[in-house]
Amino acid sequence: MVIGAVWLVNAYGLPQGARYAAVGPGLFVTISGAALLILGAILILQIWRGESFQPQDAEDALADAKMDKRAFLTALVAVAVPVATMGPLGMPFTATLSFVLVANAFGSRRWWMDLTCGAILACASWFLFSQLGLQLGRFFPPLGF
């Protein structure tokens, strides 16, 4: 519903019609915003009437298990880390850090092994994908290479 409202507010500043095409750049923004808003309201009504939600099945996960907040937050930090470190510290450092954090979230407590595995995978990927033409930035920017 929040997304729907933001889209509708933005659509207000866009032309809904065009001189020849009849449909302007704002129409689809309006439609998607309004649809999300209406559907969100319908969903809230359905929840109020007792609609239940069953978490999806996934390999390696128990859908009806209680949420492990520590594991979830550790994995979430691993996903957030690249936003802050990818530019200033480079891809190999960031990928190693995220690797260790995700492994920890999944219950691994062998820090040194995870650090070594993560560093090897991150460095090898950096070299391989850079060779294939992918722009992954400098190896470790603080040292200038």
Binding site: G4, V6, W7, N10, L14, A18, A21, A22, V23, G24, P25, G26, L27, F28, V29, S32, A35, L36, G40, L43, Q46, E51, F53, Q54, P55, Q56, A58, E59, D60, A61, L62, A63, M67, D68, K69, A71, F72, A75, A78, V79, P82, V83, M86, M91, T94, A95, S98, F99, V102, A103, A105, F106, D114, C117, G118, L121, F129, L132, L134, L136
Partner: protein, 495 residues
Amino acid sequence: MDTLGLLLQGFGVALQPVNLMWALVGSVLGTAIGILPGIGPALTIALLLPVTTALAPTSAFIMFAGILYGAMYGGSTTSILLNTPGEAGSMMTALEGNKMARAGRGAAALATAAIGSFVAGTFATLALTFAAPFVAELAFYFKPTDYFAITALAFCSVAVVMGASRTRGFISLFLGIAIGVIGIDAMTGQPRLTFGNMQLLRGIALTVVLVSLFAVGEILYVASRYRSVPGVMAPVKGKLWMTREDFARSWKPWLRGTAIGFPMGALPGSGSEIPTMLSYTLERKLSKHPEQFGKGAIEGVAGPEAANNAAAAGILVPLLTLGLPTSATAAVLLAAFQNYGLQPGPFLFTSNPALIWGLIASLYVGNVMLLVLNLPLVGIWVQLLRIPRPQLYAGILVFAMIGVWGLAGSWVDLAIMFVVGLAGYVMRVYDFPIAPVLIGLILGPMAENQLRTALAAGQGNPMVLVSTPLSAILLTIAVLLLALPILLKRLRAHA
């Protein structure tokens, strides 16, 4: 030139050593990701998109086709031996295949799955060979209004069929459409929803959304509900080949599965779940041994596996002939075409026949490769399951990160990865289907473009949208898809 001549030309392309190598790479990668949890063909192809800048389009698509088919083969292995279907299309295989494996008939289950996949893959590719040029020929006559009606029908069927509730299906779809409108409007050059951020002017790449929803969302979800006790693997026992009786009980289900899977794969929203379920139900009804179903009936493996592989070929018909993706994997393949500046559709058959026919020929080649790779080497493939899960999921995040960062080296993409990944987690917890987001994202701009072109041609008259018989029929079907279930529910309530 006739179809057979073009196909022979295609074999000339597919059998070049370099393309054979990429077909092998794709088949190996596909089988591996089919076996491994947490990663599927759509995500793999999306992660490989940035790398393909160094590859010729023909080689890249031959590799992608290998991944698409290989994932179907690999998925059956874990379903049979571990009772953990790697993807939705393998659920029925797990039901009977794992029972067979536990009863000491694992080898026969694996063999009927692999040969069934081969038979279905080959027959479905044959159907694709002859159906695709025919549909492409028809598509030459399609007008923007027809294309708009096709996308509208795709929206309705995807949102209605996928997921547990229509409301959640449509929310997923409109989320995709909402993401798709971000960036510069292609027709007027006006920025939309960029919030003053220059990097959002180019829009949000499909790869970022797909990687975030599938990889990041899955990692967060599995981490929060991780089952640390791994499943028990059934040993591969029994003769490595099927008995005469196994063959007699399998060949008809293979053909019936193909006949169900191929056309259903071509329909938007049916994915691989519906054809495999239909095949399973049909086999149970037609079997001379219905009492064996649920206890390890070979027909229950043969039929659904064939349907699963045939559906994979089926998705290529609307994709190659109309540029219409009907599943998440097809949406990524369309993005790959667009990465090369190519637009799948009838014109691609005439402008780039080497690519299209090389790709179709490679499907035949890939099928043979996959049969050889899977049947005798199954013991090696299952070793992949020994990779410890913490390191496996950590590795998937590293590759997801590389895929997103490698697109443009932008922190904005990484921030989007975080937000959309978190949304992917929420969608799994509250059971929102994920594929409609991608279909909305990729088909939304297409629908908008066709709608505006059609209305411009009709001088703004909305009746132009039902001005051709095809558009009128398709839009009627779309409305019926929406209205019929509600009407039927009301009628039942009143009865």
